[in-house]
């Protein structure tokens, strides 16, 4: 479903963001992306929704190839990829349901279908009682749920989450992670970049570690993982997590 083939990307001033990345993510898979800051996690995610394209190699998401996709192709791809960020990126002057409905309105969804879809997805993320609240009236965890609802409302085949719990306390983090697990269980692939190694430890999902734009570890390539070294960004030390 998502395939990176010898994908390399260098930013201006020579910063290597991705180096010869080869990767396949299957439908319904849950994948953690870990690694220190600047390792290339966000760039890899951006390549999936084609906000960035590799200088060499190819990224293929569904039928959309980074080599041939036009701006319209990219727009169509994004209608089927939900994207969630650490800073929520909500419209502050619109209510919860307007924020979610916005994702449907801008792609020209039939107006009579919008209310039903919005209601369903807000129930799914546990915000059915907060539809008329403004983002500033919500907690961080709730705001992230709104962002997830917006990402889900178009029934994406993959949910891309870039540090979705980075701004949340432990309790909210657990809630959001559980929600992402439920989403994955219902058939949507989830690719989540995180620094939170506790989350990685507590689950047995596939983990890919990046350093300097290179994949240095992929749990899927180990038949029976017994121990994996992951770099703890804050402490600057390796930690056995599996």
């Amino acid at each position: 479903m998502i395939r990176f083939t010898n994908a390399s990307l260098e930013y201006a001033r020579g910063t290597v963001a991705l180096h010869d990345v080869n990767l396949f993510i299957a439908r319904r898979e849950f994948v953690f992306l870990t690694g220190p800051s600047g390792a290339g996690k966000s760039t890899l995610l951006k390549c999936i929704y084609m906000d960035e394209r590799p200088d060499s190699g190819e990224v293929k998401v569904g039928a959309t190839s980074s080599l041939t996709a036009t701006r319209t192709d990219v727009a169509k791809l994004r209608r089927k990829t939900g994207i969630v960020f650490q800073d929520f990126r909500l419209l502050e002057d619109r209510t919860v349901e307007q924020n979610v409905a916005f994702a449907l309105e801008v792609i020209g969804a039939p107006r009579n279908t919008i209310a039903g879809k919005v209601s369903r997805v807000l129930t799914q993320v546990g915000l059915a009682s907060k539809t008329t609240a403004l983002p500033r009236e919500l907690s961080g965890g709730e705001q992230q749920r709104v962002a997830i609802a917006r990402a889900l409302v178009n029934d994406p085949f993959v949910l891309i989450a870039d540090e979705p719990t980075g701004n949340l306390d432990d309790r909210a983090t657990r809630g959001i992670f559980q929600l992402l697990r439920d989403i994955s269980a219902s058939g949507t692939a989830v690719v989540m970049a995180t620094h939170n190694l506790d989350l990685v430890r507590r689950s047995d999902y596939r983990t890919i570690e990046l350093t300097h734009g290179e994949i240095v570890f992929d749990s899927a390539s180990i038949a029976a993982p017994t121990g994996v070294a992951l770099l703890d960004d804050d402490a600057g030390m390796t930690e056995a997590v599996l």
């Binding site: 701006r71 727009a75 994004r78 089927k80 916005f102 994702a103 801008v106 792609i107 178009n154």
Partner: protein, 283 residues
């Protein structure tokens, strides 16, 4: 109402100060454009009035048969350039000379003045070439002794009209470009103010065309409102000038006034288009 129109209208509510600033800026740049247009219009009107006085006179030899003159007048009247051709008999010429040059009224005698054919040209044919062409044809009649049409004066008038027209075009274009740039800048500010919204639109799969639409509508609305305001300001300025400076001025007729407001909308649209395309290319 479509989402694009709703978004365009909502932007006025969300950022009223910025919208008011944009419309005011557009109104004043179009006001400058309008004032200049009015100056050009009045100059053209004045020149048109002057050019109505362009006339060609052919003087007949003494003793020319009046039937020959009448036949010539009929022929000249049929020229495409000619508005009217009249015979001026000596007696009539004398009366006119006495009227126009009172201090010489005792000097003239009708016998001293020849019969003449006086020709006025249609608008659009009052340029040196047409005047010369008609004068040449009039001079070809056998009974015509001399043809006069104030060559220098006509050339001068034509030059002034050309200069006024060219200056009008160049300055008008300059004002229009300034208006486009100003509107583009205000739309750019509006886009920056809505950068988060545009970013989200892109993330959820809106096409460039969809993102562009509300801004184009916003630009067109701002241009139209700005154009209407500019028209009002121009009318007010004209009234003040007429009242306090006792000038007789010509104002835009309905057709020109509507064209001015439409031009405002087009300029607004053009400014938005330039700005939005640039912004989307950078994104």
């Amino acid at each position: 109402m479509s989402l694009a129109t709703r978004e365009a209208l909502v932007s006025f509510r969300r950022a009223p100060l910025l919208s008011a600033l944009s419309i005011t800026t557009i109104a004043f740049s179009l006001f400058a454009f309008g004032l200049f247009g009015l100056v050009v219009l009045n100059i053209r009107q004045a020149l048109e009035t002057v050019s109505e006085r362009v006339e060609i006179r052919a003087f007949a030899y003494d003793g020319t048969d009046s039937r020959s003159v009448a036949a010539a007048v009929a022929e000249i009247s049929a020229y495409p350039e000619v508005l009217r051709a009249d015979v001026i008999l000596p007696q009539e010429a004398l009366e006119r000379a006495r009227r126009e040059m009172g201090e010489f009224k005792d000097v003239f005698e009708s016998a001293f003045l020849p019969t003449a054919i006086e020709v006025r040209l249609k608008p659009g044919y009052r340029d040196p070439d047409a005047v010369q062409r008609v004068a040449g044809k009039m001079g070809a009649f056998a009974f015509v002794e001399d043809v006069r049409y104030g060559e220098d004066w006509i050339n001068q008038l034509h030059r002034i009209r050309n200069i006024a027209g060219a200056t009008g075009m160049v300055l008008g274009l300059a004002f229009a470009i300034v208006a486009v740039i100003i509107i583009g800048a205000t739309i750019r500010m509006a886009m920056m103010a809505r950068a988060r919204e545009i970013e989200i639109m892109r993330l959820v799969g809106a096409t460039d065309g969809f993102i562009r639409r509300p801004f184009l509508i916003e630009g067109a609305i701002k241009g139209t409102v700005g154009g209407a305001l500019a028209l009002g300001l121009t009318w007010f300025a004209t009234s003040v000038i007429e009242r306090y400076l006792s000038f007789d001025t010509v104002f835009f007729d309905t057709r020109l006034a509507v064209a001015g407001v439409i031009a405002g909308a087009v300029i607004g649209l053009a400014g938005s288009m330039v700005s939005v395309s640039r912004q989307l290319r950078q994104a």
